[in-house]
Amino acid sequence: MKTLYESDFIVIRDEIRCIRCKVCVRQCANEVHQYDEEDDRVIAENSRCVGCHRCVTLCPTKAITIIRNPLDFRENYQWTARAIKDIYKQAETGGILLTGMGNDKEYPIYWDRLLINASQVTNPSIDPLREPMELKTFIGRKPEKLEFDNYGRLITEIPPQLELEVPIMFSAMSFGSISINACESLARASVEVGTFWNTGEGGLHKKLYPYKERAIVQCASGRFGVDVEYLNAGSAIEIKIGQGAKPGIGGHLPGEKVGEEVSQTRMIPIGTDAISPAPHHDIYSIEDLRQLIYALKEAVNYKKPVGVKIAAVHNVSAIASGIARAGADYIAIDGFRGGTGAAPTRIRDNVGIPVELALASVDTRLREEGLRNQISLIVGGSIRNSADVIKAIALGADAVYIATSALVALGCHLCQNCHTGKCNWGIATQDPNLVKRLNPDIGAKRASNLLKAWSHEIKEMLGGMGINALESLRGNRLMLRGVGLNEKELEILGIKHAGEGI
């Protein structure tokens, strides 16, 4: 069938600058660039271009640029080019539209409507270059109070905690959805910086065992790679109920991506589809979740925190409260902008709620119920920079999860084609030719640099607020003001509008 879908991008090559070195030809897994021997020219097949910029970045003479196809449809507020093109695609394939990464629609980004406070005169700001500035964070269940004996010795037994040097962890991304080199990069960065990475539902590859002390091992609905050794390998266990990018649906790693390594790590036969069901088939209610939480705690002899990850949905605060009461050590809330290796476009773009609102309402709800202090709260799914981290913590999070930001640090250009497995940056692929493009030495450095850079910025901002330990920002919503938000939004976020005093 002839496609009506015109290419999204156009490759522009400066013929004077092009030296026919063919780096672009070799580097494009989508086979956009082809060398024509007869004319001694490199030509481009625009329709295959996903706009990942691999060729642009590697072209030694900077001869290539890629622009959006300027081809316009007749202007129509209702029928945007994207709406029309989506219909063409579906008319041609008869299938669900698939995409990668997070929701890119123009919903409000609340992070950008929040402003941070700073000290002036009555309270000195603190210079992080000269004064200590503490970001250490503990994730895990906390007793309501401590008890000591007559000699001042601690009697209370503290449940297992994850000790973070920065309040930022790498969110779950499975080996399978991302490459082993991407996993290794994040794992090594976690070790270097003193935070944690998350296996996702991909099992723990033997190459990653050296970094297991810094791993959170996930147990999701497919139970891939889960056995007692796996559960005991990590420092915490995360039960994944939902994912922000695709709340309510499961996952699907196509058989062609299940090579020998993935097969061994996930403990499934080579070439079989790895299907994570939408629900856990042993969790049909909150008491079932409680059973799983305690089954896992039992499996690790109560030595590791067991957390629960959920997608931010309408009733998230009540669900979170239930999870807290079910005995989880932490709750991870994944917002609707959270990324994914593959999701149906319609679900990604329309299901779930912004994590900022989810976080504010969960924190408030847990406080109302007197539970907040007992359970840790992690949020993810849209954290782009250190200011987002600060805002999340001020709204009430203990720590944040980052995934898209981490991948961008590794080289991701947000081309949203993860689901094709042809990631030119060696991230979302299992093709050994592509995987090796991500040098884990470089990846680990880039990822740890990102965390270090954010830490510096967080310290600067904390210092500006006159705070020298991150815990004093946690839930300190007085440090935030809203701009351009309506009464209801301010109420849910629990903050005042900019211009209102203390």
Partner: protein
Amino acid sequence: MELKTKKRIYPKEDVCIGCHLCEIYCILAHSGTRDLIKAFKKLDKPSPRVLVEEKDGYYITFALQCRHCDDPLCIKACITGAMHRDENTGYIICDEERCVGCWSCILVCPYGAIRRSEDGKAVSKCDLCIEKGNPVCVENCPNEALELKELEDLA
């Protein structure tokens, strides 16, 4: 008098992406210009002194330059004395003026790291960019798949 190379480049095949940029920058470095476009338009464009090994249907690639051996057979086999060890750096350098193109060095180099120049007149081999200081292949590898190691214990 015992002289060995002070530096050597080691390839990392696990992360070589087969882009051939090492070759491209090697050409530039030995072209006598500082501009890639100019270098490639030159009629006497030099041939690269680094070789990217690749094989159809096989995912491993790596780039190989002269190993600047401690026991260099190329020097011993050279019929003109063109192939010699630089006294300051210990690098093995071919004096292209003196080379007559007998290719005895190619016959004995166990690494296949010596090539014939584009015009077939003389040997073209890695000089570790002796004039520039640092090898451009290492500096321009986008994935750090080439590692320049400084070697200790030089006699």
